[in-house]
């Protein structure tokens, strides 16, 4: 019998497809409904399975892996509770356009819909939070579903896909190893042809006296860093990035004006107010950045994106180019003229000087901003940095600069506390030779702290920095500024001893509370390729500035210096 006709089980086929596809690492957690698949994984010599402590950890690891390597991230869970534990991660990957393939076990097809043990309609649950999902009904369909799912996850604007894999389909025999005909339209995975009026697009840009590039996460997905730099340098155009776009343009470049939006730099937000032309490159006019009707209201607004649904979604634009950002820029750049824009650049330099990122470093306590500056220096800006969500995330975005893409891993769209530690672990698996730092808070770290065990088990040298303010700091900041200091449920009066907790997992740690210890602490932290926990005690009242209050526009930005005037810090 020719090999192609020999029958194999669905589970075997799934493993072979993953191998053929080049997947060499998967993150997961076993359970009854996915056992046949795990049995085949056990036999695989090509795929390494990373056993996590919680399925949410598995999917965030897959995200960290995918973001830092540009490859597909794969995670596995069993049916029911295993599958539902993926929901937050799927939503996170959806909002931040991360290519993830989740494979979930499901009860046998004849039990589906009967409230069987550990049954959850994960297909139904994940419809709104995946780019694509499918319930595999027959082993003969596995090859097609696999191919469709991977093409969709990585094609166009990337995103998460889920394949629900019933137990009996895992054991069913099939000889269909290749999909004969895909059911989805090629537009879902092929690069779209470039559409839009390139000439008028370029003409408007060439005429602009004060143009600004506004770069989002799409620029990273499109690997367009080189082209963006070329465009900026050729046209002498300053560049601001969103939280997701950090690294797409070198943070230390003279044309860089830093991050914009709610906690963006004053100079980026002022540049938005005063530019006469703003070119959105793969960003989505997110509500933390742009207020409809007020965003860059005096400017001509232009947008390049691969996702047509982003055009005019929140902010109306004057010029549109649809296509893969890298491809579009390649044809646009030759049409962009070299223009001397020194008055605009000099003006921005003055604003930079007069409105720097600032904080008060006069007391003896450690300021997280100063700490991150030092960390940036000592790690030479080379580390891959993941964060959790809160003040520490914004300080990291402001003070740790990135000159390269795929080194900044943060939950932008969903703002998922608990993302940082597993994302860092996933990144370390994908980049074993890089320094990987997780910047977290005492709140966030406790959301997936069980993954310290994964670090210990696989001896992964992840560096974990915990800024401890004994508060849910960002919540406290809002309560202080907008709720008259009623600190409802934001104060912790109990934290574990993080250093001892690390010791329980054989991870070395240190706690620092005064400035004089900082240098030594960072050296200890970065030393070698071992996991470390560094707990940094910081003042609870320290805040993130500048800040644009929620729902307000660039005009309403509060700067650190404003708080000095009002006496409130």
């Amino acid at each position: 019998m020719p090999k192609s006709e020999a029958k194999i089980t669905g589970a075997r086929l799934m493993v072979e497809l993953l191998e053929e596809y080049g997947v060499d690492i998967v993150f997961g957690y076993p359970g009854g409904a996915i056992l046949p698949f795990y049995d085949e994984l056990y036999k695989s010599t090509k795929i390494k399975h990373i056993l996590v402590r919680h399925e949410q950890g598995a999917i965030h690891m897959a995200e960290g892996y995918a973001r830092s390597t540009g490859k597909l991230g794969v995670c596995i869970a069993t049916s029911g509770p295993g599958a539902t534990n993926l929901v937050t991660g799927l939503t996170d990957a959806r909002l931040d356009s991360v290519p993830i393939l989740a494979i979930t076990g499901q009860v046998a097809t004849n039990a589906i819909g009967t409230d069987a043990f550990q049954e959850a309609d994960i297909y139904g649950i994940t419809i709104p939070i995946t780019k694509y999902n499918a319930l595999i009904k027959s082993a003969d369909d596995i090859a097609r579903h696999f191919e469709e799912a991977t093409l969709i996850a990585l094609g166009g604007r990337p995103g998460p896909v889920l394949l629900d894999f019933p137990k009996d389909v895992q054991t069913e025999l099939t000889n269909v190893r290749k999909s004969s005909k895909l059911k989805i339209n090629p537009r879902h995975y092929q690069k779209p042809p470039i559409s839009g009026d390139l000439d008028s697009f370029a003409a408007a840009l060439n005429k602009a006296k004060r143009p600004l590039l506004y770069v989002g996460g799409g620029a990273i997905n499109a690997h367009a860093s080189k082209e963006i730099r070329e465009l900026a340098e050729k046209g002498n155009i300053p560049v601001t990035t969103t939280l997701m776009g950090i690294g797409a343009f070198p943070g230390t470049h003279k044309l860089a004006v830093g991050m914009l939006g709610m906690h963006g730099t004053a100079y980026a937000n002022k540049a938005v107010l005063e530019c006469d032309y703003i070119l959105n490159l793969g960003a989505r006019f997110d509500d933390r950045v742009a207020k409809p009707g007020e965003f860059a209201e005096n400017a001509i607004r232009a947008h390049i994106d691969i996702d047509t649904a982003e055009f005019n979604k929140r902010v109306s634009v004057d010029h549109i180019l649809h296509g893969d950002l890298k491809e579009v820029l390649k044809v646009l750049i030759p049409k962009v003229e070299k223009v001397d824009r020194s008055p605009w650049l000099e003006y921005l330099d003055t604003i930079k000087k007069n409105h720097p990122l600032e904080f008060d470093d006069s007391s003896d306590s450690i300021k997280p901003q100063a700490f991150l500056q030092k960390l940036f220096e000592k790690s030479k800006g080379k580390a891959i940095v993941s964060t959790d969500v809160g003040q520490h995330q914004m300080w990291a975005a402001q003070y740790y600069l990135f000159d390269e893409a795929n080194k900044w891993l943060t939950s932008g769209g969903l703002g998922t506390m608990g993302y940082g530690l597993p994302a860092a672990i996933g990144a370390k698996f994908g980049n074993p030779n890089s320094t990987v730092i997780c910047v977290s808070g005492d709140g966030s770290i406790q959301m997936n702290i069980q993954e310290l065990a994964t670090i210990a088990m696989y001896k992964k040298g992840v560096k974990i920095l915990i800024f401890n303010n004994n508060f849910l700091g960002m919540v406290r900041q809002w309560q202080e500024l907008f709720y008259e200091e009623r600190f409802s449920e934001s104060e912790w009066n109990y934290n574990p001893d993080f250093v001892k907790l690390g010791e329980a997992y054989s991870i070395k740690g240190m706690r620092v509370a005064t400035k004089s210890e900082v240098e030594k602490a960072i050296d200890f932290f970065l030393e070698g390729d071992e996991a470390r926990i560094l707990e940094v005690m910081i003042p609870a009242e320290e805040k993130v500035f500048p800040m644009i209050p929620a729902g307000k526009s660039q005009k309403d930005m509060i700067e650190f210096s404003d708080t000095l005037r009002t006496g409130k810090k």
Partner: protein, 158 residues
């Protein structure tokens, strides 16, 4: 402004929830939805009637096109399509008004599908305006039950 969206989708289960989910998530009210298979058994056609201004409907259209199972979306303006809706109405009748109801049905070219001593079951199809009008006419006799299919539509050929 009302829009009639004609959506071609792969004919398999779950597609309906994907599509309708997109509308509910954005809290758009669907006036009606009708689904049927096309001449190609692998493809179904969904006709969805929604209210919304043009830019909103344009957004929905683009979001729909992102769903892998959606093959095509056409926004049919009311005036350039033929639309039909089927309704079944059970109307109370008595000896005294029976002939009156029959003659109204004749005017509307509605078909009496069933009758009992006390009721008529009437079948009527037309565009939404006609269907609404017909139902209104029947209301005074007392409607016991009603079933509407939602609109289906096709673009006029030129």
């Amino acid at each position: 402004m009302k829009h009639i969206l004609k959506i071609l989708v792969n004919n398999h289960p779950g597609v309906m929830s994907h599509v309708s989910g997109l509308f509910t998530r954005r809290s758009y009210n669907i006036d009606s939805i009708a689904v049927g298979v096309t001449d190609n058994p692998e493809i179904s056609s969904m006709v969805i009637v929604v209210k919304g201004d043009d830019s909103v409907v344009e957004q929905v259209k683009r979001q729909l096109l992102k769903l892998p199972d959606v093959i095509d979306v056409e926004d049919l303006a009311y005036h350039d399509c033929i639309s039909r809706e089927l309704v079944l109405v059970v109307v109370q009748c008595s000896d005294s008004n029976r002939t009156e109801i029959i003659s109204i049905c004749e005017v509307f070219q509605a078909r009496i599908a069933d009758l009992t001593k006390t009721t008529f079951t009437i079948e009527f199809s037309g565009n939404t305006r006609q269907v609404n009008h017909f139902i209104e006419m029947m209301q005074k006799y007392g409607i016991e039950e009603i079933a509407r299919t939602g609109q289906i539509a096709l673009r006029y050929r030129s």
